[in-house]
């Protein structure tokens, strides 16, 4: 699966539609590089790209925490 396909799978979750107003259609057209202010999207994108870099779970968890501290 590509990073984009992965991100779209997560964005297709009902929570995004119900809580953040990201519709299924929007999710389906989302590009990995699309800018977003949504912290959850940012966190997931961080997780995906760090995983693709081969980082360990601990490192990625730490990174997500750091990203969300901003």
């Amino acid at each position: 699966m590509t990073q984009e396909e992965l991100l779209r799978e997560f964005l297709a979750d009902d929570l995004f539609e119900e809580k953040y107003g990201i519709s299924k259609e929007m999710a389906n057209n989302w590009l990995f590089t699309d800018p977003s202010e949504n912290k959850l999207v940012v966190a997931i994108r961080t997780a995906i790209s760090k995983k693709r870099n081969g980082d360990s779970i601990e490192t990625i968890a730490r990174n997500m925490n750091l990203v969300l501290n901003k």
């Binding site: 699966m1 297709a12 929570l15 966190a43 601990e58 968890a61 997500m64 901003k70």
Partner: protein
Amino acid sequence: MIIKSIVLTNFQCYFGENIFEFKSGLNVVIGDNGAGKSKLYDAFYWVLYDKTFDSSSRTMCLTRDVKAKLVSDKAKLLCLLDGKIETSVEIIFSNNEKGDEYIIKRIYQIYRTDTGNDTEFKWRESSESQLFLYKKEKYLEARLIKNADEIASIIKRILPNDIQPYLWFQGEQVDGLIDFKNNSTLTNAINVLSDIREFDFFVDLSKRALESAENEFRKEQRRLIGNNQKSESLDNEKKKLIVKIERLEKELSEHRDGLMYAQEEQEKLHGQVEIAQHIRELDQEEKQVDAELQKLENDLKNKIQRVQKNLFTKFWALKGMESLVDIYAKKFSSYENKKMEQKIEQEKSLEIQRGVIKKLQSRLPINVPEPIYIQKMLEEEKCLVCNREAPVDSDPWLRIKELLEREDFEIQHSSSKSVIHNNFQDQYKKLYQEGLGLQMRMPRMNNEIHELLEDINVLSQKKKRVTENLERIRSDIQELINSSSINSPHSTNILNAFTKHQENIRKYDRLIQSCDHEMEVAQSRIEEIEGDFRKLVVGQLPQTLIDKVATISDFRTVAVSTRERVFNRLILKLEEEANKHYNTMSAENKSIRGRIRLVKQLNGNYMPKIQDSVGQELHSINDANIILIKLSVIMAIISAKKSSRAAELYPLISDAPTSKFTENYTVGFCRTVGDVYSQSIIMSKDFYMNEPLLNRLLNEVENLGNVYIIEPSVPEDKRMDRNDLEIKIIRKH
């Protein structure tokens, strides 16, 4: 990555250099038993894993365990004094997209050490084989990789260990890939071969990230809490509750396993329990009917005994003798009359006698005078009463003597009376009277006999019906036993086991409910504690921290639910794909095949089941179908992969995958394999000496790569040993 070629040199039955080249698509190596198909499979395996299959122990053995057995016997025979034999296998893997190639070569050597005078050759065997890996990048010369870690990493990339069992297997191993008795094997296969592990990673990551964020949150919370004692107490309670929830989760999982086991076992018995129940009911009915029959037989015996008894006690034996009674009555009447007449005669005679006696009695009473005096009077010739003379033979003397004879008459009379002692009149009369009584009783006796005989008849009829019923029950039982192979004791065992599983299902249901309830209570208390914590906080927690925990908590929710959604979608896709493959492979087989359903078990695992058109599970599927289902599911996992990475990157290599199939599955199997895998190498006996089937392979299967026929140089029946053995490789496509 595809396999471009394999070169086997002096490897087992492959004497000298033997080259097979392969293309994308389905490559088939055809050969009879003993032609070298399995050795070719071994060669692939040996290069990557340094192991070959030992047919005697049926295990994979390392080179150091088999040593010179790896080397061709013909090569050994032709080896000169002090000579060396090199056994090697070389495989070239090619990455079509990048144009890179990996050349992997494994070598094993033995050295001849005998002097030539020995009766047999002697060898010095290397203890280990050597592996050489070359990487050839586009336009560059091949480069030998020396770093062991790099070699291991490349081999892992060529074929990861966890994927290998699903892509490189012998026919007999298919059964174990998805074990119908172990419901985690399909889940394992899905986890290994599909993208779901990617989502598992994010589920784990979200858990870790949330723990980390919550720790940070609690740390900050504790810093701002005024009442440390209270917070410590709440914290301890929360920790205990968390431990409790973990324990309950474990128990819940055990109870679910127990419930699932009980349900599965009960399900297995489902087909038998109805028959067992029927047999038990028939057994009980047989006992009842048998008891009824026993009672009837006893009643009948008693009635018959009563008849026999009544023959004499109630004179039933005389039944039909009524006319004899009449005859007897007549005869008795005649006897009575005659007797009466005799009596009258006798009376008359007696009357006369009585007259005489009376006459005599008018002069002197009997015994007066007494005979002794009479005798004296006769002797003295004188009447002692009147004192007159009575000379001998005179009239007075004769009169006196007459008195003595009177005595004789009395004696004579008495003697005539004694004749009456032989009179049977009383007995005759009794018989007559009894005859009359019998005649009187006869109508009643008739009724009694009629009633008793009627009873006997009814009982006999009933006995006949009950006996027939008993025979029918016994025949039904026998029929059931014959058709189901379940006998009476077995049926009891089945019903007992079924009841036991039913009880266990109820028990585990209760335990699960109880655990669920306890967990809910504990969870709810944890939420209360969290609320209490918040109340204890003095001051404001940083908003960034609150937002972070909320965001990561959302990430956790999204990761878990996405994983579930993707998995459920995958299951549906797998079902669809598995059925597509199953239908293609079994298209030419006319047997009922049903539809593959992946059924979720209580513990969350999935099991393939075959169901009919109304969703009923089909049991007693034959071995070939089971293998087909397993292969269909494995192929489905690969073909359903969105990116098809496993199918694209890793070739399928299988020795005799269709060994359990009949011919009408083989072409379907090849078509499916050709569709699913970008490259596959199949060793098969099915097409050997079977021109029609071979022609179908060559003409009907798309994506066909190279097809080889391998034959031993010496036919097996003319081969005493392997000293002359080499393999002829004939390219057919």
